[in-house]
């Protein structure tokens, strides 16, 4: 713990954690390699999805991390709680994405503590956009490409759920109903589109149970044709990570609930 340089008068933007870090000599981004960067095989994480349901937003991700045709890890967590009402789900390189999530989490707490108020939803959405833009040099060289989803809950709106997807450069797109990212996302998007257009109920009218069931089936379908997507592994009890964001905050759907919903099928 070093106090050198801790002079708050020098702060340019009140409550900005990234700036506070650089003021204290902490850099969280490695330097850009000059060449040969895209030669090595990076670990990748896929597939994530999110949609609005009755109580808020459901956000889910499979558990597989791959590097080329190798399965690196079958229990990766790609759905990361950032604060009590926001979740970031990651598709892309976990090394970069997890660090982005960590910066984001610390930034929100830092803002709340220093400014003594919660950061606005728009401010939070921008913060992730800025991290992606700062990473663009790497992405251009083919390293550390991250394409996240961000979901949060805002009381000010009629349906409190807010859902965004991003492109590699950091543009944020707010969506009304659903979003998906990662290599298995074409199948997932097709299912969610079909369900929202011609399903028994619109997505936003579904109960939590119905929503969880749909998410599990969509990830299973993606895993059917995409080897980089894990789906449900019942023998080893590996289920996707599914979180809900409602007025009450972020909740993780327990493995037990996932197992029982998966076995019973769509109610």
């Amino acid at each position: 713990m070093n106090l050198a340089g801790c002079e708050p008068e020098r702060a340019q933007i009140a409550g900005d954690f990234v700036e506070a870090l650089s003021r204290n000599g902490v850099t969280f981004q490695p330097t850009l390699p000059s060449s040969g960067a895209s030669e090595f095989v990076q670990t990748q994480a896929t597939t994530i999805l999110a949609f609005k349901y009755e109580d808020g937003v459901l956000i889910a991700g499979d558990r597989r991390a791959t590097a080329g045709n190798i399965v690196v890890y079958e229990r990766a967590d790609k759905v990361l709680e950032i604060d009590r009402h926001s979740v970031m789900a990651i598709a892309g390189v976990p090394a970069t994405a997890w660090e982005m999530a960590r910066v984001l989490e610390h930034s929100f707490h830092f803002y709340r503590r220093t400014q003594m108020q919660e950061m606005s939803v728009d401010g939070k959405v921008r913060a992730l956009s800025k991290l992606l833009r700062d990473n663009f040099g790497f992405a251009m060289q083919g390293i550390g490409v991250v394409v996240p989803l961000f979901a949060t809950f805002d009381d000010k709106f009629e349906h409190g759920g807010r859902l965004y997807f991003y492109d590699v450069m950091g543009a944020q797109f707010e969506v009304a109903d659903f979003a998906a990212s990662g290599s298995g996302s074409p199948a997932v998007k097709a299912i969610l589109h079909y369900e929202s257009q011609w399903g028994k109920k619109p997505l936003a009218g579904r109960s939590e149970k119905e929503a969880v069931s749909l998410a599990l089936r969509a990830l299973e379908t993606a895993a059917e044709s995409d080897t980089a997507t894990g789906g449900v592994d019942r023998r080893s009890h590996v289920y996707p990570v599914i979180k809900t964001i409602t007025k009450a905050g972020v909740e993780t759907v327990s493995e037990k609930t996932l197992a029982s919903i998966y076995e019973k099928g769509m109610p």
Binding site: L21, N24, F28, R84, F110, R113
Partner: protein
């Protein structure tokens, strides 16, 4: 000046007297362990005097608002930087106060040509599971007083404008049964301790300890123009959210007791 020892000593004494005079009228702050965590309590106009610092650390401060703000920002920045580069579990109040704050405050106080920091700080850290909570008081000259170590650790910390008031508040709480009181009992005890501190802060040369009536008289008088400000560090709260200011309904019972018509 430093090559003339007498003038240096004189300058420091003057400086100390000046800072102590500036702080003397500050409203006391009490921090107390209760069965669900740590309670902070003070009385004042709407200005906030109790703050969240990190996951398990809170701060109560008296002095100049500008200096309090500066110190509060430094505390958050140091804790957050440490929590980010290592992990939140590595942030500890002991290290924050003894390695960062104490030397910095001492330095600021002894730089005779710079303005001194007009502030006195009371930090509290929520203990992990079965560990007791820790209270640390830091004075403007960097001197540091903790609530003790091991089993002898006192479950409270006090802060006031004068040394006498702090000693009396400490002695008052020492005589009370502080074995994990409920929040309501802790609020009442903290309010009384605040009353004791204020009784002695007002400058009169009290020879006698205040009676229960004079304590409640002080509180009734203060609450005519001011409000209770209270906050807690709660055990079992969601991660990163142990700190929570109490709203007025939660301190209503103790407010009602001292808001009588007499």
């Amino acid at each position: 000046m430093t090559d003339e020892p007498y003038r240096y000593v004189e300058a420091m004494a003057n400086r100390r007297e000046y800072v102590e005079n500036q702080l003397a009228t500050g409203s006391p702050i009490v921090a107390l362990s209760y069965d669900g965590g740590v309670l902070f309590l003070t009385v004042g106009p709407e200005r906030q005097k109790v703050f969240e610092i990190y996951d398990r650390i809170a701060l109560g401060a008296l002095g100049h608002p500008g200096d309090i703000e500066r110190l509060r920002m430094i505390a958050i920045e140091v804790a957050s930087t440490e929590g980010f580069t290592r992990s939140p579990a590595d942030v500890s109040l002991r290290r924050l106060t003894s390695y960062s704050f104490s030397p910095m405050l001492k330095n600021a106080f002894e730089q005779v040509y710079g303005p001194p920091l007009l502030a006195r700080l009371l930090f509290a850290e929520l203990g992990w599971k079965h560990e007791p909570d820790l209270f640390v008081r830091l004075d403007f000259d960097g001197s540091l007083q903790t609530s003790g170590v091991g089993v002898a650790r006192e479950p409270f910390g006090v802060l006031a404008g004068t040394r006498r008031a702090m000693n009396e508040m400490h002695d008052f709480l020492k005589t009370k049964d502080l074995s994990e009181p409920k929040l309501s009992a802790a609020l009442e005890l903290a309010a009384q301790a605040w009353g004791v501190g204020t009784y002695y802060s007002r400058g009169e040369d009290h020879r006698e300890k205040p009676t229960d009536e004079s304590i409640s008289g002080v509180l009734k008088d203060a609450l005519k123009r001011n409000v209770f400000e209270a906050a807690v560090l709660e055990c079992g709260a969601p991660e990163h959210h142990a700190y929570r200011p109490l709203d007025s309904s939660e301190v209503e019972a103790v407010t009602a007791r001292y808001r009588g018509s007499d």
